[in-house]
Amino acid sequence: MNDAYPAGDSAPLEVSIARKAYVAASGERLDVIDRVAFTLRHGEMAAFVGPSGCGKTTMLRIIAGLDADYAGKVVRPPGTLGMVFQEPRLLPWRTVDENVRLVAPDVDDAKLTALFATLELTAHRAHFPGELSLGLARRVALARAFAVEPKVLILDEPFASLDAALATRMREELAWLVDRRPVTVLLVTHDVGEAVRLADRLIVLSARPARVIADIPIAGARRERSEADIALLKDDVARLIESAA
């Protein structure tokens, strides 16, 4: 069930998934999620890390309302939802500009221009997705998610398979966009460094079936975290993950 709060601009996101199972092709039941529950404050960014194949994408799909076949409850704050999938999922037959405007028909022209400028996409607005590199296509997906001015933003490994320098730049752009306008963010990543650099909170998931094995708040605004802080935090978290596993 996906319910929306009747009112309230700063409502939290409440997730409580008791169980999610698939029936495999062989007929056997496969538990993917086993009790994952958390509440995100309005404007909070949570990063999720865990072994690959542990059910993170399944969890995001449930929260996004794409999968209703589970036991539990998700209460999303009212307002729009923005999502960046693992693949860019752009319409190949529409230009970059049309792709963004399709989901955000009422977007303010000046705001859109500024958004494209931030993501360095201004020169590509009239291009088709097939003419873009993966890094550029990922940015368009990010621009699309921000163009709807979301209350909740779901990011499923948005920087995977990009080279390190480009990933760093896109992380900075993401941090800038999130700081400008409060939005509740769920970020799935396999990179603990990325998680402690960006998030206010780090939720560690176990191997399948996924459970929450650690829920670590990360102190301080992300702008003020020095490289030394980040390295320390990263070690702490790595140790925590090891001891919990």
């Binding site: 999502m83 037959w93 529409r94």
Partner: protein, 245 residues
């Protein structure tokens, strides 16, 4: 260049054939051209071409529209597919002549019966082609439009229809040539005008010149539609595909 040479070879072969077979069996190109000009001068050519063209367009539009709806529903719903599949198989294998004769018996020698009979002949073809397209729709893009709450009609226009475009173009191509051949039979059997009616009269008089004059004129019309309508449409909808530079 090669197309011109091929056309020239065709005319030359026709000329040679006419020389050997005699003008009664196969009149030469010039005789046929004279007949076309004479029919055009009297206005009869345009009257009959127009009648046939109107029937072709109506039956074609009807078959394409209904076939697309049926194909999309069958491609998206397994229940509808299993229910309608036997019907489709029967229609696909029902000879055009049987449909036409039954339509004339049941509905009288009317325009509506003629157009419906042609449309019924083409409809299963379109449905089968479009069904394949609907089965191959990208679920990732469907999820994207659901997450961003793109209204249904907009999603159909911008997300679904472009994915169906190649299948629709294929159905339109094969449809146009099939439909005009069947329209001629319908006209021969029960209409007081049109190319098929004229060919019926010419057959009774063994007037091969007239048969060729009408057949070739209408072939030219179909070729013009293909070159000036169908092909530009295809180029427009596939403009996003990468062209070799």
């Amino acid at each position: 260049m090669i197309r011109l040479a091929s056309l020239a070879l065709f005319v030359a072969a026709w000329w040679g054939g006419a020389h050997f077979a005699g003008e009664r069996m196969l009149p030469g190109p010039l005789l046929v051209l004279d007949a076309i000009i004479a029919e055009a001068r009297s206005g009869a050519l345009f009257f009959h071409l127009g009648a046939t063209l109107a029937r072709v367009l109506m039956a074609f539009t009807l078959a394409l529209a209904l076939g697309t709806v049926i194909g999309v529903v069958m491609g998206r719903s397994r229940l509808a597919d299993r229910f309608a599949d036997p019907w489709l198989l029967v229609l696909l294998n029902l000879p055009a002549l049987v449909v036409i004769v039954l339509a004339y018996i049941w509905a009288g020698l009317t325009e509506a019966a003629a157009i419906a009979a042609v449309a019924v002949n083409k409809l299963p073809n379109t449905a089968v082609t479009v069904r394949e397209g609907a089965r191959a729709l990208d679920p990732g893009l469907d999820e994207m439009s659901r997450v961003f709450q793109v209204p249904r009609w907009k999603a159909f226009r911008h997300v679904v229809l472009p994915q169906l475009a190649p299948y629709l173009a294929a159905a339109a191509r094969s449809g146009l040539s099939l439909v005009w051949k069947i329209v001629l039979v319908v006209e021969l059997l029960g209409r007081p005008n049109g190319v098929g009616f004229q060919i019926g009269i010419a057959f009774q008089l063994f007037d091969v010149t007239r048969i060729l004059a009408y057949a070739l004129s209408f072939t030219a019309v179909v070729l013009a539609i293909e070159t000036f309508l169908v092909q530009p449409f295809e180029r427009r909808v596939s403009r996003w595909r990468l062209r070799p530079a």
